[in-house]
Each structure stands twice: as C-alpha cells, then as structure tokens.
C-alpha cells in the first residue's frame, strides 16, 4: 500500500480525538446501562476478524474451479452449494454468484452505502465505502478498473452490479491459465478479495511451479 493509500485509509477511519473518546464513552455508558453485552460483541468482532473473511470466498471459488459440477450447483443455488463446504457460520443467504467468462467481466458496488457479502468475504475494505469508488464504479467502470490495474479490452462487456437491496453479489473469476495441475488449496491462494469484488484478476500461478 502506498503512503497515499495509507493516508486515505487513515483519513476515513480515524476520527478526531474527541470523537474517538465519544465512541469509547458511548460503549461504557451502554454497557453500564445493560443495553449491550460485551461478551457477545467480543464474539462478533472475533468472528469477523478471525473466522470470516475473503478466505471463505476463495475456498468457494477454488472448489468451483476444481469441480465443474460444484460450479454448476453454485451458480444455480449458491446457498445449497456453499452448505456442502460446511463452513461454520457461513450461510450464503441471498448470495448471487456472477461469473466472469470470456467477453464478460463483472464488478460489484453499493452506490448508496456499502452493502457487501459479509458472510463469504468478511467486512468490506474501506475504499469500497469511498465516494471515489461508489461514484465512478457505475458510470466509469473501465476507468476504475484501469486504476486498479485491470485492462479490459473494448470487446469485453462489463457488468456492474449495484447492491441496492437485499441481494449480495460475489464475482466468480475466471480460472487462470497454467493452473491445470494445482490442488484446490493452492488454487484458493490465487483468489484475492479484490478478484471477488471484480476490481482485480486472480493471481497468476508462480512461474516456477512444476
């Protein structure tokens, strides 16, 4: 991350000291009042910090790459297919997979706030909430992708999915070339968070792979 990007993340998530104090005071007061439960909140934070995240999505994508029948089930009924993977606490409710294929590149955004598939991808990166992304992802998707380093040829259609209601979208990227003999676990390592948002392609397999 460049200093520029670091400074953005800090600007957008570090309120002035008086607001930081206010956040802490609010929690203390509400705990004192018995309105919120610290143990429950600790568990939720732990869940999203340690158990849930883009690795869940990467497992799903890798399985779909490795097993065409799973992929077919995943595209048809994501919830049922994800249940097969038996990931604790991950339900895939209202999840829709959008598949990249030759000539079609998908990309997700929430122009009105920051809706995101928490269950399979964890909490959204802060740039996903930014005005810079939300404003232009729908009107200038090719420019946005270029800024993310993804060149989409003119003949490829870009499909942008604005998550304005209860449906959550996840991109199923194309399996990279040269990965025919990779294990499902190794394939999962190629699947980045941004590739499931649609603002990146999966990693290429290491050149040195046998």
């Amino acid at each position: 991350m460049s200093d520029h990007d670091h400074s953005h993340a800090e600007d957008h998530t570090t309120p002035p000291p008086e607001i930081q104090l206010r956040i802490k005071a609010m929690e203390s007061l509400l705990v004192e009042m018995g309105v919120i439960d610290p143990a429950m909140m600790d568990a939720v934070v732990d869940f999203y910090e340690r158990q849930v995240g883009p690795r869940n999505g990467a497992r799903i994508v890798a399985r779909a790459w490795a097993d065409p029948t799973f992929k077919a089930r995943l595209l048809k009924d994501p919830k049922a297919a994800i249940a097969e993977l038996a990931m604790p606490g991950i339900s895939g409710d209202h999840l829709v997979m959008v598949e990249n294929r030759p000539g079609v590149h998908n990309m997700i955004v929430c122009t009105l706030c920051s809706c995101y598939p928490w269950q399979t991808m964890g909490l959204p990166p802060i740039w996903f909430k930014s005005a810079a992304y939300r404003s232009r992802a729908v009107s200038h998707p090719r420019d946005v992708l270029a800024e993310f380093g993804v060149a989409v040829p003119p003949e490829t259609a870009i499909k942008v999915w604005d998550s304005n209601a209860d449906i959550r979208y996840m991109v199923l990227p194309e399996r990279p070339a040269g990965t025919d003999h990779m294990t499902e676990a190794d394939l999962a390592d190629l699947v980045t968070r941004d590739s499931m948002i649609g603002t990146a392609l999966p990693l290429a397999p290491a050149k040195a792979a046998p």
């Binding site: 520029h4 953005h8 993340a9 600007d11 957008h12 998530t13 570090t14 309120p15 607001i19 956040i23 005071a25 609010m26 007061l29 509400l30 009042m33 309105v35 919120i36 439960d37 429950m40 909140m41 600790d42 934070v45 999203y48 910090e49 995240g53 883009p54 209202h94 829709v96 122009t111 009105l112 706030c113 909490l123 990166p125 802060i126 740039w127 909430k129 930014s130 005005a131 810079a132 939300r134 232009r136 729908v138 009107s139 998707p141 090719r142 800024e147 993310f148 003119p154 003949e155 490829t156 259609a157 870009i158 499909k159 942008v160 604005d162 998550s163 304005n164 209601a165 209860d166 449906i167």
Partner: protein, 213 residues
C-alpha cells in the same frame, strides 16, 4: 432522500484508491464502532433501514468528510434518541459525572402494527420496464441514476420488505424484488461503452410499467 450518499454517477471525487488484502479493521475506531453497532442491532436498539436513513440525513458537510466511524456513531446516536434511550446531551452529562435518570432497558417497538399482505407479482423475467421517477424526502433504495430509465428484468428474487416503508416506520409492505439490467449508454449517454451493462434490484414499487420492447 436526494442527498450526497446517492453517489452513483457523481463527479469530482478523484481517482479510486485501495487498501491491502487481509485487513478486517483499518483503525481502532472502526473496530469499536462496528462492535457497538453489532451490540445495538442485536438488542433491537438500531435497525438497518432506520440507521441508513439517519446516516444519510447527516448534515451534508459532515457526510462529505467520509469519516465512516464518526458518521456511524452519529447514526447510532440518532437511533438511540428515536428509541428514547439517550437524548442529545445525555452522553456529555454522563461523561461529566452526572447520573442519568432511569431508562427503559428494552427497546420500544418502532415499527407500526401494519403488516400488508405481499403484493402480487406484476412482472416476469424478460419484461422491459421503466423505473419510476420518484424523489421521496425519506429513505429510499432507488438510486437517482436509475430513475426514469428503461431496463430488462433478468431475475425474480422473491418477496422482501420494502425498505422505504421500514425506514419511514409506516409498517411492512412486502413485495416482489427483481433484478433489472440497463444499458450503460441508456443511463449515462453515448460516452459509455456500448456493451456495458448495469444491474440493480428493483422493488416492485419502484417499477412504473412494462414498456413495449
């Protein structure tokens, strides 16, 4: 509400920027505010639609700072105020060592009693439809850039509560939700790419009518 949160197609925010993979929280404040929100939502002291409406209603200059933890705290404070738990000034008083009077520890029901039967489905996949031109002062999930546009229904998503009614506390108004696909050139004009498409969910109340193909 037509305000700055409705960002689709706005100009002037500069190039996108990114953050590394593997970061759940970008700051201590972000984690604390998330934690607090999970606690309040679990207890019924904050609801998704009402919270969104309250964040959207922040003074525009505050919203424009894009300091998300600060905005979310402000939204939660408004939610607590609506439920009669904490009035403006209460937190300051408590921080100054003043004991607050007794409060209800169970949140009041905030939704009206009204529960409509689900609306019958009026449209089908493949239908070409025009989206309504509406401009409600309250919360809506119909972005401005899609109002009045013509698109094609590509999926029926089932029955969902209508967020505009939930946020307005006028009751539950369950209805069919459709995914509608639009041509980028229809929405943005000839400078968009001819083969690009935009999709969004449309609650049935957002759809004006079927149009001839």
């Amino acid at each position: 509400m037509n305000s700055l949160h409705d960002l689709g197609g706005m100009h002037g925010f500069g190039p996108v920027w990114k953050t590394p993979e593997g970061v759940a929280f970008h700051s201590d404040a972000e984690q604390r505010v998330f934690r607090l929100m999970m606690g309040l939502m679990a207890g019924g002291w904050c609801d998704t639609d009402g919270f969104r409406a309250d964040v959207e209603s922040l003074p525009l200059q505050v919203y424009a700072r894009e300091c998300f933890p600060a905005n979310y705290l402000a939204g939660m404070e408004k939610q607590l105020e609506r439920r009669g738990l904490l009035m403006p000034g209460d937190l300051e008083a408590w921080m100054a060592g003043i004991k607050l009077g007794p409060r209800a520890t169970v949140p009041p029901a905030i939704m009206g009693e009204r529960q409509e039967v689900p609306l019958p489905s009026l449209f089908r996949t493949g239908d070409i439809v025009r989206i309504r031109s509406i401009n409600p002062e309250g919360h809506t999930r119909l972005p401005r850039y899609l109002r009045g546009q013509v698109g094609t229904i590509t999926a029926q998503r089932g029955i969902f509560d209508f967020p505009d009614a939930l946020a307005a506390r006028t009751g539950r108004r369950p209805q069919p939700v459709y995914t509608v696909e639009f041509r980028a050139t229809d929405v943005w004009g000839p400078e968009a790419a001819a083969n690009d498409r935009l999709s969004a969910e449309m609650f049935q109340d957002y759809i004006e009518s079927r149009v001839d193909g």
